[in-house]
């Protein structure tokens, strides 16, 4: 399992891309997707919604459990991934690519985010 170097990571297991025009993409990590098992339902925030770092903005349902989805940053939702709503298994099959969840226009300094290496150390504990 490898965590892309160019991304930053939260301790809630989201990844955050670098900002293009102030907009970053958010998903959950492969580690989190594996821990959840087969994802069967994804509820994402509405476009235009304001999200806050560390607060719930959706949910991910797998065969055995339901987990809250958090935003790693403060900001406004500019786009959500309809493909993953229609096919939640993308979260498992391509967590860092086609399984991205939403795009957010960051409104403040991100909180405590980890580098790929720091995240790798965090999950191996």
């Amino acid at each position: 399992m490898s965590n892309p170097q160019q991304l930053r990571y939260s301790k809630e297991h989201e990844w955050l891309s670098g900002a293009e025009d102030g907009v970053s993409t958010v998903g959950i990590t492969e580690h989190a997707a594996n821990a959840l098992g087969d994802v069967v339902y994804v509820q994402l925030p509405e476009v235009g919604a304001t999200v806050a770092a560390g607060e719930t903005c959706g949910e991910l349902e797998s065969t055995k459990s339901v987990s809250d989805l958090y935003s790693p940053v403060d900001g406004e939702i500019t786009e959500v991934n309809e493909d993953v709503v229609n096919d939640p298994s993308l979260v498992n099959s391509a967590p860092f690519e086609g399984g991205w969840l939403f795009k957010v226009k960051i409104s403040g300094e991100p909180g405590e985010l980890l580098s790929a290496d720091e995240y790798a150390a965090f999950i191996t504990g």
Binding site: G37, D38, K64
Partner: protein
């Protein structure tokens, strides 16, 4: 204080296969090896291999073994012929279910009782407490057996490659001693998946060799190792109850829609058995004025009902509770087993919802099971 989880004889095998492990009733068990949906589909269409060594085996022997079991359990155990098995329950004197069991009659005076892992000690204690006055011995055989299961339509073909035992003559709910892949086994045509399949009770020291032989024998047929996660969705689709969910000490067999397992007509011990009076009253109550009934629910949407979620009407009146729920790979929709008020239990009843974290999601009331294999 916590004890370290117990490990089965196949523990190293599971880890080598990359299984995700989980604590289950004090055992460290494989939850899944790859995708639980793929494992589920493999059992429905080809075959799956399970390690069920956490199940609790108790051997009862002696001239009055049948009489003891007839007294201690609700079923007619003396009427089980040698080589056959019976699904039954052990109840409290008040009628509440202590566990559901499979009892194999291995010989005229020898039975093997298989209890759920979480209840094995409870069952052992209850049988021991109920054995007074009977010429019978109870042996704790939990450490004497590993249990492997091959389940799915390809399972007879796979097993035939590694045994000369007469599988065609082995009926559903029957078991016979034999040799599988050179290993002594009790071969039983039982399972918990809704498919044809076999359960193989073997010495723990033989478990790895048997697992490897079955894996090799099943390679061409698409056999895959399967964990507890798909076992739960398989049994849920097949409408089979799970202890701690559909069955509890607060429930009698009649409340669970399984009153047929209680045999009031048995003649041993002058017809007496533990729980008889309370169960007779429960039978009458369930017939005349059923409080809640066990039904199936099929989701119209995609959100998954979970055990403990309220079943409600559209206006939010609570009419029941979900006992098990999961996305059904076979139906392609979330399904649930739930206790609902009798007035809402008829298949097709409209206006039934599940409260999924505050949102009332519509459900179709249906009879169980959700899935029945084609024979």
């Amino acid at each position: 204080m916590t004890d370290a989880p117990r490990r089965t004889a196949l523990d190293a095998t599971h880890r080598a296969l990359g299984a995700t492990m989980t604590d289950f009733a004090g055992w460290d068990m494989p939850l899944r090896y790859s995708s639980e949906r793929d494992e589920h589909v493999a059992v429905r269409t080809r075959a799956g291999l399970f390690d069920l060594s956490h199940m609790g085996e108790i051997t009862v022997t002696g001239p009055q073994a049948a009489d003891l079991l007839d007294y201690a359990l609700v079923g007619n155990i003396g009427g089980v012929r040698t080589g056959r098995a019976r699904y039954t329950m052990i109840c409290e004197a008040g009628g509440g279910i202590l566990d559901d069991l499979i009892v194999y009659r291995l010989a005229d005076q020898e039975y093997m009782v298989v209890a759920n892992a979480s209840n094995a000690q409870v069952v052992l204690d209850a049988l021991t407490a109920r054995a007074g006055g009977f010429d019978a011995a109870i042996r704790d055989d939990r450490d004497a057996y590993a249990l492997l299961a091959v389940q799915g339509p390809e399972s007879p073909g796979i097993l035939k490659k590694v045994t000369d035992a007469d599988l065609d003559g082995l009926k559903y709910y029957a078991g016979l001693p034999g040799t599988v892949a050179g290993v002594e086994a009790l071969i039983a045509r039982t399972g918990y998946t809704g498919e044809d399949g076999f359960e193989l009770f073997v010495r723990p020291a033989d478990a790895v060799a048997l697992w490897e032989a079955l894996t090799e024998a099943g390679q061409d047929a698409g056999l895959v190792p399967c964990g507890l996660s798909c076992r739960d969705t398989l049994r849920l689709e097949a409408g089979m109850p799970l202890y701690g969910h559909e069955l509890t000490t607060a429930t009698t067999p009649f409340d669970a829609g399984l009153g047929r397992v209680v045999k009031f007509e048995k003649t041993t011990n002058d017809g007496d058995f533990v729980g008889r009076a309370a169960l007779a009253a429960a039978a009458e109550r369930a017939e005349a004025n059923p409080p809640r009934k066990l039904v199936g629910l099929i989701a119209e949407g995609r959100r998954v009902p979970r055990a403990g979620y309220p079943v409600v009407t559209a206006d939010g009146t609570v009419i029941g509770e979900v006992t098990s729920g999961a996305p059904s790979p076979t139906l392609g929709k979330p399904v649930a087993i739930a206790y609902v008020d009798a007035a809402y239990a008829t298949p097709g009843t409209e206006g039934v919802c599940v409260d999924i974290r505050g949102s009332h999601e519509p459900y179709e009331v249906t009879a169980l099971p959700f899935y029945k294999r084609q024979k």
